[in-house]
Structures are given as structure tokens and as C-alpha cells.
Amino acid sequence: MNLFASSPIVTREIAAVVASYLRLGDTVVLAGEMGAGKTQLAQGICTALGVTDPVTSPTFNLVHSYAGNDATVYHADLYRLKNTDEIADLALEEFSQQGGIVLIEWGDVGDDIIGEHLEIRISLGEEDEARDIEIRAVGKRWELRWPRLVSATKSFASVDAEWDDL
């Protein structure tokens, strides 16, 4: 589905709605170019999950972990990696398997390794602060929640998408 955020505040609102549909063991891939707002999305999701520590980009540490209300949130960034082996080395699947919630910036390059996930792709909109946000589910894990997530984010649906429906 395609959503539109007119400002960073709206981006965070969308992140919060997505967060409310997350379950323990979920993986969320955050995709988009440098400066598009992937960390912004991660911050929005973390805050909504009850993380109170400041959420910073894990580019250099590769993975940060935060205590949320019900889950440990793992925030990873693949930007610095060169080989798929290095992605596997992070064993992100083990974090989700033990009931954590895993957010992976630049995770779209590791689709085969990462397994079932929700992908949020953010890109620069026509205006300075605006962003286009595209969300898709990979795998069956989201099958049941997907329609509910779609209706919950309806107010953010991009105008283009509405035209598509007609």
C-alpha cells in the first residue's frame, strides 16, 4: 500500500500505527535512500513500543537493543556491510525467534536471508518535508493482520493510491 506523510510528525504517526500491529517475533525492514527517514521510522516504532532510551542510528555498532514495554527491540543497520555472510553473521533471526522485535535499516538488500517481514520503504516526496511511504508484507506471517493494517492507515493513503482504487 502507498501512504503519504506531509511532515516528519506524520511519518512518526504512521510508524506508531504500524507498531501497534507488531507482534513479538516480528521483523520490519526499513528501506529507502540516505536521508529519506529510515531512522525516523525506527524512532517512531520504538517510541510506540515503549522504548524510552534515545534511539540512534546503529550504523557503526550494527545492532542496538532497547527495552520496550513488552519486548526487546533490536535495531540493526546493514549499511556498512559488504557481503551476505555478514548479514547472516548478525543472526537477526535469532533475535526475532526469541521473541524480540527486529528493525533492519537497509534490510531490503538481505531479503533472502531475513525471511518473513514487513517492509516499509520511505522516499523523498515532492516537497521538502514530505515523504512517500510504501508498505508491503513478505510471507504469511502478516496475512491476517494485513487488512487491518490497511484500514488503520487509510487516513494516510496517498492520493495516487485513491485514484488507483477508482
Partner: protein
């Protein structure tokens, strides 16, 4: 001879001290995944109770995987560190071999009329790790590896088993998880099925440090301990360069 065995290749933390004849002490924490927090205190507990120091050990044995990445690394790093401090030789074994040899310790009667033992560990996402071991009935059920550890889809494992078409005993987390598909294969049984054994001395579906110790002790006694590369066995898809499009 006293060997310390460290097995953290699964979610459990398993530590044992012993030789090729017997196990003096063992510690097992099931499904905890607190490898970092539990491992060193467990080793201390065992050594203290046996009344020996780490310097009195002959060697350290460690499970190299395949298995849980985080667990493997804790075990291997700890083994390397302790071996370095106490100047002890390290003996590595792969987790499937440890699992397979566990049969001898939990239910020897399972081997009576079987031809191969097939340890299978769950590798997640419909994949499994497996190897195969022929049972040498002429030398009291000794196991000989005939298929090296590999990773693949469950379908590949099934094909592999059908190709071989031998009476087999399967065990391990992967065997349990996919038993409904595996049981369709002729002459295949999950460990415990043929003998009716239900209560094993320890979880027969995970590698255990006491088996690791006895395997390592045999190697040590035979002088086969040099040159084992001590590094995790990941067994994963071939490495490739990441295709960066937008970075």
C-alpha cells in the same frame, strides 16, 4: 585425563567434565539462551565440585555447530579463552556428530537393527542441518560418518534419505519438527520409537556436552587433537557480495 566439554550450540547450556570412561560432572540448562550469563558460572561450579582447577584439565572440547549463531560464539570464544589461559589443547566437534553419538548414551538398543543414524537439527525457515552415520555392528555399534554436515530444505533431506534407502534412526530438533513428513520414508524411525524408550538420560534431540566429552576423550587418547580448526561451522548459503543499488 580430564576433559571439559562446552556445548552451547543450541538454546541449551551444557557443560561436562570427564574422560572416555565416565563423566565426573555435568550441568545442563534447558532452553534458556542465557549463554553468556550461565556458561562461566556453570564451568566454575563443576570444577569446584570435582575439586580440580582449570590447569589440571587435559583439554577443552567445544561444539563448533552448526546451530544457534549466538550460542556457538559464546561457547567457542569461552573455550578459546580458557584454553589460552591454561595452555590447553582444544578439541572441536560438529554438533551433528555430537547429537548422533548421543544415541549410544541415551538408547543403545535403538541401534540394534538400524543401519544409519541421521542427526537432524532445525535450521529455521524450512531448512535443516543433517549428516549421516553408518553403524558398524562389527565393532559394538561404533558410528562412522558417511555424509558430512550440510544444510538444505527439508525436501532435500527427504530425497537424500530416500536415495540411501537404509533402515535409519533419526533424532534432533529438526527430526522432531518435521517427523510427519519424514515418517513417510520407509524403514525410518524417530529415536525411541523402536525400543519404546521415552525417558532419556537427557534431551536426545539436542547435542549434549557429556557426549562431546567422550568423543573428545577418544580423540585425545588416540593423539588426534592437533590441527582442528576451532571456528564456528555456520553452513549457510554461499557468500555473495551485497547488491547495493541505492546506498
Amino acid at each position: 585425563m580430564k576433559i571439559l566439554g562446552i556445548d552451547t550450540s543450541s538454546e541449551q547450556v551444557s557443560v561436562a567434565v570427564g574422560d572416555d570412561e565416565s563423566i565426573s560432572a555435568s550441568f545442563q540448562l534447558a532452553s534458556d539462551r542465557r549463554h553468556v550469563e550461565s556458561l562461566i558460572p556453570a564451568i566454575e561450579l563443576l570444577l569446584r565440585n570435582i575439586g580440580i582447577s582449570i590447569h589440571e584439565l587435559s583439554a577443552i572440547a567445544v561444539d563448533l555447530g552448526p546451530g544457534l549463531f549466538t550460542g556457538m560464539r559464546v561457547g567457542i570464544t569461552t573455550a578459546l579463552t580458557l584454553a589460552n589461559i591454561a595452555e590447553l589443547p582444544l578439541i572441536g566437534s560438529d554438533s551433528l556428530q555430537v547429537l548422533a553419538h548421543g544415541v549410544e548414551r541415551v538408547a543403545l538398543q535403538e541401534l540394534d537393527d538400524a543401519e544409519i543414524v541421521v542427526p537432524i537439527l532445525d535450521a529455521r525457515r524450512n531448512q535443516v542441518y543433517w549428516s549421516m552415520h553408518r553403524i558398524d555392528h562389527s565393532s559394538s555399534g561404533a558410528l562412522e560418518e558417511i555424509r558430512e554436515p550440510r544444510v538444505g530444505d527439508v525436501e532435500e533431506l527427504i530425497e537424500d534419505l530416500l536415495d540411501r534407502s537404509q533402515r535409519s534412526v533419526v533424532l534432533g530438533t529438526g527430526a522432531v519438527k518435521y517427523i510427519e513428513s519424514l515418517i513417510e520414508i520407509p524403514d525410518l524411525a524417530l529415536i525411541g520409537e523402536r525400543s519404546g524408550v521415552r525417558n532419556f538420560a537427557f534431551n536426545a534431540h539436542l547435542p549434549h556436552a557429556s557426549t562431546l566429552v567422550s568423543l573428545a576423550a577418544k580423540k585425545y587418547a588416540a593423539g588426534r587433537i592437533e590441527g582442528d580448526p576451532i571456528a564456528p561451522i555456520y553452513l549457510r548459503a554461499p557468500d555473495a557480495e551485497i547488491q547495493w543499488l541505492t546506498r
